[in-house]
Symmetry: C3
Subunit: 349 residues, 3 copies
């Protein structure tokens, strides 16, 4: 698999990283330990002691440092060993990798590439679950499947018509019509107008409306989507232009989703979803989370089954269809970003 | 492993394939989906969508066709894609493999080799569980072992003396004496006479009788056996000739068994057994199924343990004994049939 | 992994090998069957029938011999086939490997190397659980980790300060101070004095004492350790000399431990521990076993986590510290003993 190392990978929900409790996650197959130091700073190191490879995530926080609890080596937040019990001299090689890490939008983000290139401006503008403007539920799922298969799924919503006919009540329009696809510097934008008849599940009005749905899918696998209802005729009036979020009649909602490759054949999927505070309440959010729970289980069933078929196929070949435009565009971007950074290929999980 | 592709492989009990419910099975490591179409026709396709390799067995039956429920491609019973949602043109390569399939003797049979050679006359003459002449129970077992090890077991009944001393109450005669072995065009026939003292478990008469037991073991792993009791002296009188089934005094019974290689190191074992309607009733069949359940569990314990030893042995070598004549004869036939069809070796699971 | 084949490997607790009940264990990845014959003699053979590789451990004891219960081959205690049902001639190759085996100190020991070199004088002088002088509890644990990682753990007690701060109540002295290390012909001796303040957990006296702790760690992974309390000043008085066990004031206890490599990435760990009969009773032994149970679970958690990190690391490198002197010395001895016997490297599990 090819991955974009020079990107911010979601490692955890910020609220799941308690003070001075080291937490282990594998990202791109690399073991990473994340913790909040005594001062509250978030830290990320290679989760593998330089001495005998014990995981530092079984260690003990001491001030800004982390002590391996096998034989007591003490690591600074820069990964450099500060103390080796019973030994005066600390060799220069006594260090583990330190990862740039950020606590933003209620997610912990880890930069897996060259630390010199880590730029917090590249963190995707997700909507955090604590932002008061939105009423968001959240969750996560572990996949026995390549991260890429989940990204492919999220980049082609024609699957909604088939996989999510029950849960999301998606009709034939996702399979019948192509969305508008716009390349972005670090991703792809996918937008569409969907007619919504009067008094239908997502249209509370007694006149037909048009639902606008748009998402950016950004490296290394972050989906940021909002939807809203607009008066009939808006699509025709705007042509290629996007409507303003603030002009939505109703049904305004936002979902942030992140696919993190944890290793070969495994991934963790983080998601939040819910209404804008002016268009819903806790009950609506709860109803949406029930729907999402069902839909994401449908995806998981299909994608893990797909993964098992791929794993059992000697030389797996795909045959892209017209609906794969965004998938193809995004995967080419991933390949280009990986090629620009030769380290990508070596460390591909 | 070498397998005979140009043969009918048992995929399922016919009664287990419900109308318009696709069912997945792996045969020789290849994923196969089986279903009954709206017209009741049994169909078998490669269980792997040509688009992104999702399993068609998660799909939906539509008339004679099967729709992939990931992105909606529709497959005809010949494996050719009939519809790609959102796309006019259907590429010539948009097809999956279609397998000749037959519903016969209450089993679903799939021809894994060259479709041009699929000849229903080659379907082994098993006795179906719905045939009114026989009162048959049935079952199946999944093995964590190569199909070949189960075939070897079934081709050498000297194991009855040791493995099934309790369940079948087999005495020393299976280990002490060689059966008569006859090569068949697509298998091996194994026959023997076993003396049965008066009033013994399988002899209800108050005089000694002789039990005749004969089975054909046919590619790719089908055992068809019947037994019956005859008056003392019949064996000597007939010499090399086989007795007529109809002349049996008592104890007439039939078992059909099939070993299907599902992949490297795994197999599925199908079996039925029971008395002839003139020699038993439901109670006798149930008693025989209890006995078979115990005996087949004894085989499974031994064969899976044997498989684990083989898997842990760098260069496993066997040392055939005199009782391996039928095993050797059958395995040479398999090799010859495989050699005649070069595709066998490539696709060996 | 490199192992010393020419050594006695602990296969089982003697009391766990019942009369005429074959028992299976894998040692260095080789399947071994152990049993007590009708005469009570302990026997060990390759657990793999020469015919079709069924495990002999599913077999039946007959006098001094063991019968394979698949097709009935009978093996003598020397591994030579004595009987092949249905066959007169027994080929010369009809034999499995026979291992020198000994029942000593309540353990069953198997010599995995050249039988001609098997010398019972090389059996490590463990203290058996039935020896009346000591009151010993015992147990065993299966590890999902290389035996070597457990040996490394036992050769560097600096981990006590970190891993066992709770269970053994180990203080900083194990990490701060180096023990005395003495090379032995087939192992390493590790000894130290530990100050014990008055009325502390391991010092029942109302004056400070000095605890002496010494263990021999012997190939292929046997730890034999005793400890005892001595009057303050004994260490200074004796200098480099070891105290007599008999002179201990109190707290005299003994532990025998054995690490057996069962295969690549797995091991079995046997242990006993308890007080000398003049320094404790059943209650004290039980208290010590509770403590050991907690401590050995702490080791298992750490070592299995370490193993998982190593397995996920492409080219795992360690960085030894000052506390690794005994580890390094022992592992060099293992390499030397393996090099002296070229068969070691080939059969390395």
């Amino acid at each position: 698999m090819i991955h974009v190392r020079n990107a911010w990978h979601v490692a955890a929900w910020s609220s799941d990283i308690a003070a001075e409790k080291p937490s282990a996650i594998s990202i791109l197959g690399e073991p990473v330990v994340i913790w909040r130091s005594a001062s509250g700073t978030i830290q990320a190191l290679e989760d593998r002691c330089v001495h005998r490879l014990a995981p530092l995530s079984l260690g003990r926080c001491e001030g800004e440092s982390l002590r391996c609890m096998y034989h007591g080596l003490l690591f600074g937040p820069d990964g450099v060993v500060q103390e080796i019990p019973g030994q005066e001299l600390i060799p220069a090689r006594a260090r583990v990798r330190s990862y740039p890490v950020a606590d933003r939008h209620d997610w912990i983000w880890v930069w897996m590439g060259d630390p010199a290139l880590a730029d917090e401006a590249l963190i995707p503008p997700a909507v955090g679950i604590s932002e008061p403007e939105w009423i968001l539920g959240h969750g996560q799922l572990d996949y026995a499947a390549e991260a890429r298969l989940i990204c492919d799924n999220l980049l082609d919503f024609s699957h909604l018509t088939y996989v999510h006919a029950q849960s999301f009540g998606a009709g034939p329009e996702f399979a019948e019509h192509q969305p508008k696809i716009t390349p972005l510097e670090r991703g792809v934008r996918v937008s569409r107008w969907i007619p919504a008849p009067a008094n239908s599940p997502r249209n509370p009005h007694d006149v037909a409306v048009e639902a606008y749905q748009t998402y950016d899918f950004l490296v290394p696998g972050v989906l940021l989507m909002w939807s809203g209802n607009y008066p009939e005729g808006t699509a025709a009036r705007l042509g290629d232009l996007a409507p303003e979020m603030a002009d939505a009649l109703s049904g305004l909602n936002f979902t942030s989703q992140a696919v993190t490759s944890t290793g070969p054949g495994t991934a963790r999927y983080f998601f939040s979803w819910g209404p804008h505070c002016r268009d819903g309440d806790d009950a609506k959010r709860d109803m949406m989370m029930v729907m999402a729970g069902q839909a994401f289980a449908e995806d998981k069933t299909m994608i893990e089954a797909q993964q098992r078929v791929i794993a059992a196929t000697p030389d797996p070949q795909i045959m892209p269809t017209a609906h794969d435009r965004a998938v193809t565009l995004y995967n080419r971007l991933v390949e280009r970003l990986a090629r620009d950074n030769p380290a990508e290929l070596e460390s591909a999980a």
